[in-house]
């Protein structure tokens, strides 16, 4: 027994009973609270739908114009702006405009949500060892628990559609921004912090004027990763009924349409790059002092 390589596991019936008990528990939980939770998410759903409509129903050239403008404002770079506009036109010409807009709406909201929620959590973690020690494992779980595992429970709770999709994306994508905000703040030099203390900075002042600016390179790396991961979830989200670029990708996979998958995948990548470049060049503009140097 001891020498074998068979692990002395629980026998099958016990295991089975255990699983079934959990399943039944979850089932009755979802029956009990599902409608309530659903109602709670209603405003988010409406917002998502409204935003998607906005992007879909505005004339395409207006959307391109607006995106170009935003990219220019964020980066002050003509090159970036032209790139963004051309890429969007390319997407349109290849017939993926509608799906791209849907995905863009979804991901924009997800990224915003992740950043807005993630940065404060990262700050909290950097501030308190205890917070760090409790949050880290949660992040590990959120990032590595295969989304397939919670997709179905989420579907059973909230049905298929945008809200469960959004939840799945945010759960997965929020980790890096939290982690890197934490890391960045922790790496801020002691000297600068001491100086801030010596001049009586309140915690908020220290945070806003010293820690966050100095942690910016790391925070931006976190946001970059969050965007990347959100877009990496596009297909998974489409598995629970979120419309957008994920659908044709799945379709391509199930039908062996290599090129179709590639086009739509490329559209996802382009969205990712647009989002990323805009945020990063905005971040760079916030770090002017890094540019000088010997």
């Amino acid at each position: 027994m001891f020498w074998s390589n068979e692990f002395p596991q629980l026998d099958n019936t016990t295991l089975r009973e255990l699983s079934r008990a959990i399943d039944r528990g979850y089932l009755s939980f979802s029956r009990e609270f599902g409608p309530m939770i659903e109602t709670a998410f209603e405003p988010l759903l409406h917002f998502l739908i409204w935003f998607e409509r906005l992007l879909l129903e505005s004339p395409w050239w207006l959307v391109i114009l607006a995106t170009g403008l935003i990219s220019f404002l964020a980066s002050r770079s003509w090159k970036l702006m032209t790139g963004v506009v051309l890429a969007l036109c390319g997407i349109g010409i290849l017939g993926m405009w509608e799906d791209t807009m849907r995905t863009m709406a979804m991901i924009l909201v997800c990224t915003l949500l992740s950043v807005i929620v993630g940065i404060p959590i990262g700050i909290l973690m950097a501030r308190s060892e205890r917070a760090k020690n409790t949050i880290l494992p949660v992040l590990d779980v959120m990032q590595t628990m295969p989304s397939f595992v919670y997709l179905i429970p989420v579907v059973m709770l909230l049905g298929i559609g945008r809200v469960p999709g959004l939840i799945a994306v945010v759960i997965y994508a929020i980790s890096p921004v939290i982690r890197l905000t934490n890391l960045g703040i922790r790496l801020v030099e002691k000297e600068a912090l001491e100086a801030a203390d010596a001049f009586g900075a309140s915690r908020m002042q220290k945070l806003l004027k010293v820690q966050l600016p100095l942690a910016l390179p790391n925070i931006m790396a976190g946001i970059n990763q969050t965007i990347m991961m959100a877009l990496a979830m596009v297909v998974i989200a489409s598995m629970i009924g979120v419309r957008g670029l994920g659908q044709p990708v799945l379709q391509a996979v199930t039908n062996q349409y290599f090129a179709l998958g590639l086009f739509n995948g490329a559209a996802v990548v382009i969205l990712a790059i647009i989002f990323d470049r805009i945020t990063q060049s905005f971040g760079m503009r916030l770090q002017k002092h890094q540019q000088g140097g010997r």
Partner: protein, 311 residues
């Protein structure tokens, strides 16, 4: 004994798992093959088989999604379709639109599509509550075309129904489970035999009779301009093997040809798995132990003895 290495594809739904494990056990112990299981989704497996001839055996392949590449590979002589998996497929397998039995009991009118069309309010779409919802076939699957055309053929849109893409089979199952558990209204595309239909008591909605000609001419073609009411065709569930394997191993091939599951056995397995949360392995053992008479018909007596001895 000269059988050698055999790789068997195991798809990730319940029946395919039992089929794969039963084949594995019999080939291993009855024919002395060195059988190995390779997991995979339908499409990657089919692709790999048609391009690479690996894995050797796909015990249960639902053809409607992969017909084109498989047929191409068969044409090019790289794959062989051994035959059906189920006895009498027309009866035991099939696609269709389904509603929970409790709905039918409350409102017998819902037995047919015409009855359903009168009550979109019973099938409320949560993202668009003014309308009813038909859960369609997940994007990309071959059934998407059929469902889409039938949706139009029966004028469900005008009747106040949205056709909603559930995204994936799993999400579809989830959505069915959710509605069923809460006793909500549900109209969904689905197919049998599956564990979902084994678990939830659902009834098929009555459609027009199947018309092959009209089906081939229109329903099977994407965006067909003027679809007429029709039904789903008989589902093809086949065992497919690589030519290299077929040529080298006549005896196992014989077994695969003979191996025809009865509809009841299949259903029993699905129910058994569902009730016990069993994986394919356990279910296969259960089957081999308790359904000896069924599988004895598939193999010669000497092989049967060997299998029995190994149990």
């Amino acid at each position: 004994a000269e059988c050698g290495n055999v790789t068997i594809a195991e798809m990730n739904w319940a029946s395919a798992q039992v089929a794969a494990r039963v084949d594995e056990f019999i080939l291993k112990n009855g024919y002395g093959c060195d059988a190995e299981i390779i997991p995979g989704d339908t499409m990657p497996t089919a692709t790999s088989m048609s391009e690479k001839g690996r894995p050797d055996i796909a015990p249960e392949l639902w053809m409607n999604n992969v017909k084109e590449p498989i047929n191409r590979a068969v044409g090019e002589g790289r794959l062989v379709i051994v035959g059906d998996v189920l006895e009498n497929p027309a009866e035991n397998a099939g696609e269709g639109w389904w509603i929970p039995r409790y709905m039918l009991e409350k409102n017998p009118e819902l037995a047919t599509i015409d009855g359903i069309k009168k009550h979109p309010e019973l099938f409320k779409d949560p993202e668009d509550p003014s309308k009813g919802r038909v859960l369609g076939c997940p994007s990309g699957w071959a059934c998407q075309i059929t469902t889409d055309n039938l949706y139009r053929a029966y004028d469900l849109e005008d009747a106040g129904f949205n056709l909603v893409d559930p995204g994936s089979g799993a999400a579809m199952a989830g959505a069915i489970g959710r509605a069923y558990n809460r006793g909500e209204g549900l109209l969904t595309y689905y197919w049998a035999p599956t564990s979902v239909l084994a678990r939830y008591d659902m009834v098929r909605v009555g459609l027009e009779d199947f018309n092959q000609e009209e089906f081939d001419a229109c329903i099977a073609i994407a965006d067909c301009p003027d679809p007429k009411p029709n039904n789903f065709p008989v589902t093809e569930i086949k065992t497919v093997v690589a030519t290299t394997f077929a040529e080298k191993n006549p005896e196992p091939m014989e077994y695969l040809k003979n191996r025809l599951w009865t509809g009841k056995d299949y259903d029993d397995m699905l129910i058994y798995m569902d009730e016990n949360q069993a994986d394919g392995q356990t279910a296969a053992e259960h089957f081999l132990k308790n359904y000896e008479s069924s599988w004895r018909e598939w193999v010669p007596a000497d092989v049967a003895e060997k299998v029995k001895a190994a149990l």
